[in-house]
């Protein structure tokens, strides 16, 4: 599919286009001057071009060969034309470099080219305060993301926060998502205060998903329960109410105030704020070697170093702190704690394809 330039790419092309007339006029002037000296004075090409350049640049060097009257008249015209073109060109160049910031636009053009090669990244739509916090966490966790933000003021904030990838464009345009490499993205996150904006993003995301054939995990915030239902109905995979979340968190803190300092390690792990310890839920699929084995016999602890802290059998309540004799079944959800590396290893082992490899080697 052919892609069209974004607003920033468009600005870059416009700035480049502004440079065309002075450059074309300069070439035409050099052409007329060179051909003129060749025809009027019979100068060789190099001498004719040299005379043209020194005349147009008004540097005041001496003539290469003595000029006839015709040659002098021609030189006068050339100098005047050259001065006009030179003045115009300087004006245009200064305008393009300073007012249009062509170097800044070039940097953005390069960034947009790099975005095209991203994979498994999130598209964060709207640089809200929630998105700002999210960007901070993603950066710390080494997760790739692209921010889509139409507002120039917020784009300045993005630059100030040194966000690596962003696109300044409208979030209701399908093309914007293509620019954000939606075809290889993991999901879309929207956190506008206004729920109608969130609905727009979710609907656009689902339409783009259909066009690209890429399954997207779409997360949205909502302001109230009614909007939550609407957002889920239009296709959001997960809808979070910031107010409810904050209320729950404060409630939990009030119920059991942290004993060790103002922020407990457990709290940091639960909210993904620490990079050396993590807790994840993983589905045990059919066909992996640990299915049908006990926790002890599955050897997960030795193979990965991660701990199973809870097992949820399909349709039942989570079994916290399972015994080593608990049998693992396909469809179980494991809650596992460990370092990100240990959890990555476990996730790899729980892929049926990886499991086939393990089976083949054992």
């Amino acid at each position: 599919m052919r892609s069209f330039p974004s607003r920033q790419q468009g600005d870059f092309f416009d700035a480049l286009a502004r440079l065309r007339p002075p450059l074309i006029l300069t070439i035409l002037l050099l052409l007329v001057g060179t051909l003129g000296y060749m025809a009027i004075e019979g100068f060789p090409f190099v001498d004719a071009m040299y005379m043209t350049v020194i005349s147009v640049a008004t540097v005041g060097f001496g003539e290469v060969h003595p000029l006839s009257t015709g040659g002098r008249l021609f030189t006068m015209g050339l100098i005047m034309g050259g001065f006009a073109v030179f003045s115009y060109s300087v004006g245009v160049f200064v305008e393009v470099i300073t007012r249009r910031d062509i170097f800044g636009l070039f940097r953005i053009q390069t960034m947009e080219s790099r975005i095209k090669s991203l994979a498994d990244h999130y598209i964060i739509v709207g640089y809200t305060t929630i998105a700002q916090e999210l960007a901070r966490i993603f950066r710390r966790r080494g997760m790739l993301f692209v921010v889509v933000e139409p507002d120039a003021e917020r784009v300045e904030m993005l630059k100030h926060d040194q966000v690596e990838f962003f696109i300044q464009d409208d979030y209701f345009r399908h093309e914007t998502y293509r620019k954000a490499a939606v075809g290889t993205a993991r999901g879309i996150i929207t956190s506008f205060e206004n729920d109608s904006d969130n609905i727009t993003v979710v609907v656009t995301g689902r339409i783009v998903e259909e066009a690209t054939g890429r399954d997207l995990f779409i997360v949205s915030t909502c302001s109230n329960e009614e909007s939550k239902v609407r957002l889920e109905r239009v296709g959001a995979d997960y809808v979070i109410s910031p107010d409810t979340l904050i209320g729950n968190r404060i409630g939990a803190l009030a119920l059991r105030p942290p004993t060790l300092g103002s922020r407990s390690v457990l709290e940091q792990v639960a909210f993904g704020e620490t990079t050396d310890l993590d807790i994840r839920e993983m589905l045990l699929p059919e066909g992996v070697p640990m299915v049908g084995k006990s926790v002890r016999d599955s050897d997960l602890r030795r193979l990965t170093g991660a701990y199973i802290v809870a097992i949820t059998h399909e349709g039942r309540r989570p079994h916290i702190n399972p015994s080593p004799d608990e049998i693992l079944r396909a469809g179980d959800t494991l809650m596992v704690i460990g370092t990100p590396r240990q959890l990555d290893t476990l996730e790899h082992l729980l892929r049926p394809t990886a499991a086939a490899g393990v089976n083949g080697t054992t």
Binding site: R2, P5, G10, F12, F13, D14, A15, L16, A17, L19, R20, L23, I24, I27, L28, L30, L31, T34, L35, M38, A39, P44, F45, V46
Partner: protein, 117 residues
């Protein structure tokens, strides 16, 4: 009438025709005009938002990179045969360029006809 398009096609065609006339006649004036026209055609494609913009720019650069050495060979070393050989290479690139601009115009027309709003 789109005068920008007129200027653009004018210089692209001028680059082709002056190139052909140099290949045929071998005249020094023709070569200088060909190089200037080819450079202008390249500039007009710079930052182009046409559907085949990148392809057009590439063909123009190929023509320039044949013609500039041809200019040096012709005036610097008096190598007329070499200059003509290089100009033939540029002619091929210019023919492709004109073919591409024709395809691009057709694509634009189709796009305009299919545009709903």
């Amino acid at each position: 009438m789109d005068w920008g398009k007129v200027a653009s096609i004018f210089f692209i065609l001028m680059a082709l025709t002056s190139n052909a006339s140099f290949v045929y006649g071998g005249d020094s004036y023709n070569l200088v005009i060909t190089v200037a026209m080819s450079l202008i055609a390249t500039l007009l494609k710079l930052g182009s938002r046409k559907t085949l913009g990148a392809e057009l720019m590439a063909t123009s650069l190929v023509a320039d990179l044949h013609l500039i050495p041809a200019l040096v060979a012709f005036f610097g070393f008096g190598e007329v045969t070499m200059a003509k050989g290089l100009a033939i290479g540029a002619l091929v690139a210019n023919v492709i360029s004109v073919a591409l601009i024709t395809i691009d115009t057709i694509l634009d027309t189709i796009k305009e006809e299919n545009a709903i709003y």
